[in-house]
Symmetry: C2
């Protein structure tokens, strides 16, 4: 029968379903198409980089574990505060108090503005300056050649989706799915890194250069993205009984060595990454009938793998 | 204290938080900024259009009710089949069997390819041609002036996000958050409209012109987007005990008049829509420090309201 339950599914699987195509018998002269998954699977170890344990936040929520890579090269002051908060266990027992559909989940101290809140531990500096962008003159920027409506140039810095103003070299991280940022009030310098949000929908790039991004989720997004949406304006739960508890947020480097998650990300300056991105820009597996000839910054997946100790 | 639980939140609320700014005492010569929410609230009734009951699918899942507007102007053959399926109650008791993070949920007959599946009711035509795109020469196309990487021109047709090839006039609906499409196999004409998917993540525009979109969710996306992700490849549940049951999918026009949901959408050819979009392209409420000067097609919200009988 004609029903195909896995139709779209089959076509979009980024792994096993794409097979090499040989179009003429003269294989020596015919480029063999490799899918992105094949390219990534074949990437040599040198194309991967380790995620430093001091940059890896381990967040435990009811659904499972979320791993966040911090970006001290973009937000050094916020990352210092976040490390101090994590080392002191500040978030442990606090909650996700906001989940707004197609936008963000947000967590920290639900008492927020209107109550004293949980005291800051030693080592947290307050206030700190906004870290919306930085001078990119000395940054290695892996350019994505595709046009972007929000910025003159987009690409990656150490695997973080980023954008820059080619006139001034100002460079900033981009609000893609999984981006982690620091909530602020109306004043630019009103964020500390204690109230964090994670993008769970269509990339809200209008936030770029307006708020400090501190990192991105590498693993476990599905534990955040399915959190029930809050019924109040902006996805707030209102009733604190709905809050989703955070059992712990820990810096991986604080864990015993045997318990530290070990992740690697594909280097965005590697030929494997460039080739995998091209395979997605112009898909040639059996299902796609019209390759797009384009990819948006926030549609580029950033391969992550767990490695043994 | 400096913690602000509603920081990002407050800033991004599209309603009450944005206040008119008067920059000089000479108000007569100073344009008063109105937020998108203010513009929409003030839109006259003529700027709204009714959603036809014959184009409105009413989908009941455990989390609540999802309302989908069908697009017969783009996918007439698929919409005919979908109406026949809904009128016969074909989906009632079937399930959502796939939820892939940052991509789609998919539903229909979980038995799929490998089992006989549920027989098609009378009125369903099989096969039908692919409806990936159509000639747009006679369509009213409300152009969004912003650059798009995926198409020569983007905009809206009757409120549906769309794109077109300005050389050929070929026009198609775009895969934005909430888009509803018909799963297919490797053959272009292998979709019927019985297996449907809904985009729940970053817009997968690479699917545009590769698969038939049939409409979009107008209300209730939060009941689909939080459905637990499947553990198998492509977000499949594998174990059918995990399937999320569909109690019913009904055409609103089949319901008793008193039970028909009545929705209106803001007309994308209205000045209210154009002005609200500009207010979002260059935000001037108190929180934003740097207006983006741009908006992507899939970042433009499409206002929907319920109306009395």
């Amino acid at each position: 029968m004609m029903l195909r339950a896995t139709l779209l599914a089959t076509a979009l699987l980024l792994s096993a379903c794409a097979t090499a195509q040989t179009r003429t018998p003269d294989a020596a002269q015919t480029p063999v198409f490799r899918s992105a998954a094949q390219i990534i699977a074949a990437a040599p170890d040198a194309h991967w980089r380790d995620v430093a344990a001091d940059n890896l936040l381990v967040m435990d929520v009811p659904g499972g574990r979320v791993l966040i890579e911090l970006a001290p090269s973009f937000a050094p002051r916020h990352v210092d505060n976040i490390r101090a908060l994590a080392r002191s266990g500040w978030w442990n027992g606090l909650a996700i108090y906001r989940s707004q559909d197609n936008f963000v989940v947000q967590f920290g101290d639900p008492s927020g503005d209107d109550a004293p809140g949980k005291p800051m531990p030693a080592g947290v500096v307050n206030p700190i300056p906004a870290e919306f962008e930085r001078d990119g003159g000395d940054l290695h920027f892996d350019v994505l050649p595709d046009v972007d409506g929000w910025a003159a140039q987009v690409g990656f810095v150490d695997g973080f989706p980023a954008a820059r103003d080619t006139g001034t070299d100002a460079t900033w991280m981009a609000h893609c799915y999984g981006a982690v940022g620091a909530g602020r009030g109306n004043e630019a310098d009103s964020s500390l890194g204690a109230e964090l949000y994670v993008v769970i929908g269509q990339s809200p790039r209008q936030l770029d250069r307006n708020i400090t991004l501190v990192g991105r989720v590498l693993k476990g997004m599905e534990h955040l993205s399915v959190i029930p949406r809050g019924p109040e304006p902006m996805g707030m739960y209102g009733d604190s009984a709905r809050n989703v508890p955070i059992s712990a947020i820990t810096l991986a480097s604080s864990l015993p060595a045997a318990q530290q998650p070990k992740l690697q990300v594909l280097r965005t300056d590697s030929t494997s990454f460039v080739e995998a991105t091209e395979a997605r820009r112009n898909r040639r597996d059996g299902w796609y009938l019209r390759p797009a000839g384009h990819i948006d910054l926030c549609n580029v997946p950033l391969p992550v793998r767990e490695v043994g100790r």
